[in-house]
């Protein structure tokens, strides 16, 4: 009997809130696809290239499950509140509270089973999509992959956890059901003190706070890039920004319409006052929810932006950082290894150009002591101007000349944050003053910090390292992985000890691409889940109160509002409510691009900024389009509920 009733109730609910259930099934599908990737052989086989991928996806999946649980619990409580009277009737008809609980649990269990079936199916397709993206970004072999059973099991377990979590939170709501409630009229809308001006002032304050957070975040990002400051400043400003965003949206929901309603002449036109009052009620009742939704959408927007920026900066960054195809760095006196390495490179691919250079030292640490990373016994490393110019020539860059000056050269971005202007180097009887600093110089094997000096200053120093860079003939394909492994073998002296350092650009691309793919896919995953959950919450809120508004619209019709007027009022009201949590988060793409600009400039690839901005705009348009489609569906469903086929 209870099973039958539960099935009927569920069918009725799904009919009424189809959109919500669709979003829920898609979330389940996303969880299925993510756990699938955790156990996918193709991904696991990529091994070192995708270092950290599993941990990231596992962490994000746990986060997603937690948020879905909270959303589901909220939705369950919402439905319980809507069905308060129905449950009251069951009690009055002689059901016990235990029966009620069983009914509720059976309903949610059926829903859970349904989401397993639907989510599993859709999850398989999404899994293939994510995998294709991953193969594309991390240069893995492409093709259809079998969906791993462990992944499906883990997803099912996670969803079960989500289900139990939401039940634990919503069951107390069932205890509040009273038969007495049947005798009283439906609880009316509560009279709350309306203080729209104060709310708007609060919104303005939050907006100013958001702007301040933006500048603080930009500053923190710049400091962390240039001075190696830890991420506490960034995290702090982001958390504050999240709080301000919630506050702004909630305050706007509380005050915006109230201020309009004070302008009587504006309101008394057509069905405007009717629409604004309904909207005001709805917004004020859901102000806190609107704030949370705004945060979810903002996470989604920022996630997409991060994914886009990461993807775009990757190639530019790689070329900027590794302009030479292969570079090798060895301690002085191991020319034998240098020759062997040269042979390996020549075997692998035709060489277009090779430049050999020496790093010198005289034991002084005048420059290093200015930085934050000097260690006892450390000595400044020097490069002669002629070697430096040879390196520049290989890249087609103009030669430099230095007279009585030195140049600081480093691939560590923090170097730009230190002041060398007061330091005068005394070498071979000459005095050399500071001429400038290039903190975004290309990688020459490992991280370095060099002073470029005129040749006469270097002569007489002892050699510290012998190095070489190669540019390969353009357009040749070669097995970068094999060359990388061969060099690794060559330089491995004993155990984990490497005698020299090297870099093969194409090998770096694969591993780099892997970590970038992790970031991108992780960000996209979180983005889509948060967007879906936000849409799911909005749809039940829209459809749930549409039923309450039916009576108001009936009265409007009886007073002479024609079908078009009524439909327009409903559309304007729902649209305003729907749009509120989206506007500011979508506008957040502008500060996102601002922060991206700082990061890209810090990484030395400002040329990627144009494309990053374009992608940010395009992603905002895409999110807006998804929301518009979802809104259109929600509006049609609400219209059916309000006007009921008339």
């Amino acid at each position: 009997m209870i099973a039958k009733l539960a099935w009927r109730n569920l069918r009725r609910q799904i009919g009424g809130y189809l959109l919500y259930f669709c979003a829920l099934a898609l979330t389940a599908a996303l969880i299925f696809s993510a756990t699938g990737m955790l156990f996918c052989r193709a991904v696991l086989a990529a091994g070192a290239a995708l270092d950290g991928f599993s941990e990231t996806i596992a962490f994000l999946t746990a986060l997603v499950a937690l948020v879905s649980g909270a959303v589901l619990a909220h939705a369950n409580l919402f439905f319980l509140r809507l069905r308060q009277r129905e449950f009251g009737v069951y009690l009055a008809l002689g059901m016990t509270r235990k029966d009620l609980r069983n009914l509720f649990l059976t309903e949610t269990l059926l829903l859970f089973a349904l989401s397993l079936v639907l989510g599993g199916g859709a999850g398989f397709l999404l899994f293939q999509g994510f995998l294709a993206l991953l193969s594309h970004m991390a240069a893995l072999p492409q093709g259809l992959a079998a969906y791993p059973v462990e992944g499906a099991t883990l997803a099912a377990l996670l969803l079960a956890g989500v289900y139990l979590f939401s039940c634990a939170f919503s069951l107390p709501g069932l205890r509040r059901v009273q038969t007495g409630g049947l005798l009283q009229p439906r609880p009316g809308r509560q009279a709350k003190k309306d203080a729209p001006v104060r709310a708007l002032a609060a919104a303005l304050f939050c907006l100013v706070g958001l702007a301040a957070c933006y500048f603080a975040c930009k500053g923190a990002v710049r400091r962390s890039l240039l001075q190696g400051e830890n991420g506490a400043g960034i995290a702090g400003s982001l958390l504050l920004a999240a709080a301000f965003l919630i506050g702004f949206t909630a305050a706007l929901a509380k005050g915006a319409v109230g201020v309009l309603l004070k302008r009587r002449r504006f309101c008394h036109k057509g069905s405007r006052v009717f629409m604004l009052r309904l909207l005001n009620e709805r917004l004020r009742a859901n102000a806190a929810l609107a704030g949370k939704l705004a945060l979810m959408v903002a996470v989604s927007v920022v996630g997409v932006n991060v994914a886009a920026m990461v993807g775009l900066s990757e190639e530019a960054l790689l070329l900027r950082r590794y302009p030479y195809d292969v570079c090798v760095q060895l301690p002085a006196g191991r020319e034998d290894l240098l020759t062997a390495a040269g042979e390996l490179v020549e075997e692998a691919a035709p060489v277009a150009q090779a430049v050999e250079y020496t790093v010198w030292t005289d034991g002084s640490d005048a420059l290093l002591s200015c930085t934050g990373w000097a260690w006892p016994g450390a000595a400044d490393a020097c490069l002669s101007l002629s070697d430096y110019n040879a390196l520049r020539r290989a890249l087609g860059e103009p030669e430099l000349s230095l007279s009585g000056e030195y140049l600081v050269l480093s691939d560590i971005s923090q170097t730009a944050g230190y002041d060398f202007s007061q330091i005068v180097l005394q070498k071979n009887g000459g005095r050399y003053s500071f001429a400038g600093c290039d903190a975004a110089a290309p990688r020459l094997a490992s991280a370095y910090f060099l002073a470029v000096l005129p040749d006469e200053a270097v002569s007489g120093m002892r050699p510290a390292e012998t190095c070489m860079v190669w540019k390969l003939a353009p357009g040749t394909a070669f097995d970068a992985g094999a060359l990388d492994a061969a060099l690794r073998d060559l330089f491995k002296e004993s155990g984990a000890q490497y005698i020299g350092d090297f870099a093969v650009r194409e090998a770096v691309r694969t591993s780099h691409g892997g970590s970038m793919a992790i970031l991108s896919i992780g960000a996209l995953y979180v983005s889509s889940v948060f967007l879906l959950l936000a849409l799911a919450l909005l749809s039940i809120e829209l459809l749930g109160s549409a039923e309450e508004e039916r009576k108001s619209f009936e009265i409007l019709q009886s007073l002479g509002g024609d079908g078009r007027t009524c439909a327009r009022a409903l559309c304007a009201e729902l649209l305003s409510f729907f749009v509120l949590p989206f506007v500011l988060p979508l506008l957040l793409m502008f500060p996102c691009v601002g922060v991206c600009a700082v990061i890209l400039r810090g990484l030395g690839v400002p040329e990627a900024l144009g494309e990053a901005a374009f992608f940010a705009g395009a992603s905002a348009v895409l999110i807006a389009a998804v929301c518009a489609l979802y809104f259109a569906a929600a509006y049609l469903a609400a219209k059916r509920k309000v006007f009921g086929g008339r």
């Binding site: 009316g188 809308r189 009279a191 009587r264 002449r265 309101c267 008394h268 036109k269 057509g270 069905s271 405007r272 006052v273 009717f274 009052r277 309904l278 005001n280 009620e281 108001s552 009265i555 409007l556 019709q557 009886s558 007073l559 002479g560 509002g561 024609d562 079908g563 078009r564 007027t565």
Partner: protein, 252 residues
Amino acid sequence: MEPAALRLLGVTKYFAGPGGVTRALKGVEFELRLGEFAAVMGPSGSGKSTLLKLIATLETPTAGSIEIGETNLAALREERLAAFRRDRLGVVFQNYNLIEVLTAEENILLPLDLAHVPWQEEEKRLRALSEELGIAKVLKKFPRDLSGGEQQRVAIARALITRPAVLLADEPTGALDSAGARALMELFCSLNAKNKTTVFMATHDAWMASYTSRVLFLRDGRIFNEIYRGQRAQKEFYEEILAVRAALEGGR
């Protein structure tokens, strides 16, 4: 003789339900003169509410025609019908049907807003009407803060603000106590006498019906009888209404 404010000719209404077709009204015919105050009585299910809904253009008749003033309702399309309902008809319901989220003033002005009446005119009409109905002090309040009587007077103000040709009332006293109900009927009488507003009311309360000048009796979707008050005292008219009602119910 005054011209006809409302004319029904052979009005029939069927409802198709799961259990077959229900005939709510069968060939109802009558006329209401301009400035007349009439009531329709009948047991539950006799078709009173359907009749009122048809006149209020909230339903369309299956057959027959309804004319209000010079306008035949059947000739109007949906949009024109809504405009007609807004401009020419005022409707008062048993449960007031005030929109809860609007203040009393906003409720009253809504039909004028929908008709895009200029603001100055709206203010003028509102001031006059709220003084007349004694609700000037409660205009800024929401329905939930008003008493039943006040809510009904706000609903009447909303029905009258467009200066309708006909005021329709469906059990207007149903939710009021007897003192409130009497006050409301006296208000209807004075509106009818002073402004020559045509009022047509559905009620099952014989005493309320006795305030009118004419009572129609409806049974099983047909007009069973109709009586006029003429020059008689209210008490006498009331007794006749009771007698007709007894005959109506006895004949079942």
